[in-house]
Subunit: 225 residues, 2 copies
């Protein structure tokens, strides 16, 4: 529900530009637009009931995120992300989450450790009850807390970006019961390693945690088709 916690900036729902930005990103990621489809500022503006200005700003930002390709004096086109892109993002994340866990070993406070423990504990409960929405929410929270614990503005920024990027996918991946339980067990293991300040182990487990997620997505995709 409360997406604010995970958004690093004010890019969200507090201005027309933010609205258009989120909306377009959602629509592109969800496949509402064809890849290479032209995004006309006026048309989008009319559809959303705003003028060109917020639309323009949103498009320029989406370009930086790589979801839109802008050709000067010509137009904006949907870039979209392929299955390979998604796979790449997870691979990249696997490395960076590892690094994040490593840094967390050096920087995390007792309070943060407790907070993460609480999240895992709560998540365990919801896994048993099969409350998938809460599980997804708590999974996000776990990673968010880890990002904060890394003590790195840059790394946090980056991981949050990718996290949001694949957010829609994650709802799917975690909705498979066994995976949700395993995932939580892995979170537990990461926490333990960090608590013991075992950087090598924490990095390794966090890394493998994301790799696990990849194979899970892969299975899911196969099952779909």
């Amino acid at each position: 529900m409360d997406d604010k916690v995970f958004s690093k900036d004010n890019t969200d729902k507090y201005s027309l530009r933010g609205m258009v930005f989120s909306r377009l990103r959602e629509d592109i990621l969800s496949g509402k637009y064809e890849v290479n489809e032209e995004l006309k500022e006026i048309a989008i503006g009319e559809e959303l009931g705003v003028s060109r200005t917020p639309v323009r700003e949103a498009l320029r930002q989406l370009e930086l995120e790589g979801l839109v390709k802008i050709i000067p004096n010509k137009g904006a086109y949907v870039a979209g992300i392929s299955n390979k892109d998604i796979h790449d993002i997870y691979m990249i994340r696997s490395y960076l989450e590892g690094l994040c866990a490593r840094w967390a070993c050096e920087n995390i406070t007792e309070e943060q450790l407790d907070e993460i423990e609480e999240v895992i504990y709560l998540s365990d409960f919801h896994v048993k009850k099969k409350h998938y929405d809460q599980i997804v929410e708590l999974d996000s929270k776990f990673h968010e807390l880890l990002y904060a614990a890394s003590g790195s503005k840059i790394l946090g920024h980056l991981l949050r970006d990718y996290h949001q990027y694949v957010h829609s996918l994650r709802k799917i991946t975690l909705s498979e019961p066994e995976r949700a339980a395993n995932s939580n067990a892995e979170h537990q293991a990461i926490l333990e390693a960090i608590r013991l300040r075992d950087a090598d182990k924490a990095e390794k487990i966090a890394h493998e945690h994301i790799i696990q997620t990849i194979s899970n997505i892969h299975n899911h995709k196969l099952a779909e088709e």
Copy 2:
């Protein structure tokens, strides 16, 4: 010289927005603005001789890059990057360049291998002649070719971003003769590993290559102060 090669999008010099964007980024990274200094749209517009519109769009994009913090209805403030941020970026890069080298093992073509070899060969020459500008240029080119060889749009995008980010710094780091020579030797080693399709080795060397750069920067910083 030819910066275009490294820019993934048209964010550069082909529009007022692009101009303002590059200019502001440069100015923020080079420390022309104080951290937390307010960036007023009108003032910047007047200084650069453009209206608010391109300035606004540039600021919104810089926010996404993390260089500017925008408080809604209030203003834009310089976020800047600290020495720790730079260190973090290099650490992140060390992992990602490793991954990049790994993927290059799987995807690189013979032509690309030859091209990289040529760059290294040329660079060797300029190192001996102490042509620092060309060395920096070729170093950029080496990495750029590797990014392309990874076959990953996402990873390439990301690494190019960070590469640009620390571009000003890199001019310094490579201008130390021994480092330039060592750096080139490391490039050679990376190339060899990739040619032999030894992913583990390629990843390891590429990773350590960036780590080396970090300690070099560290030394340099110490020498400065």
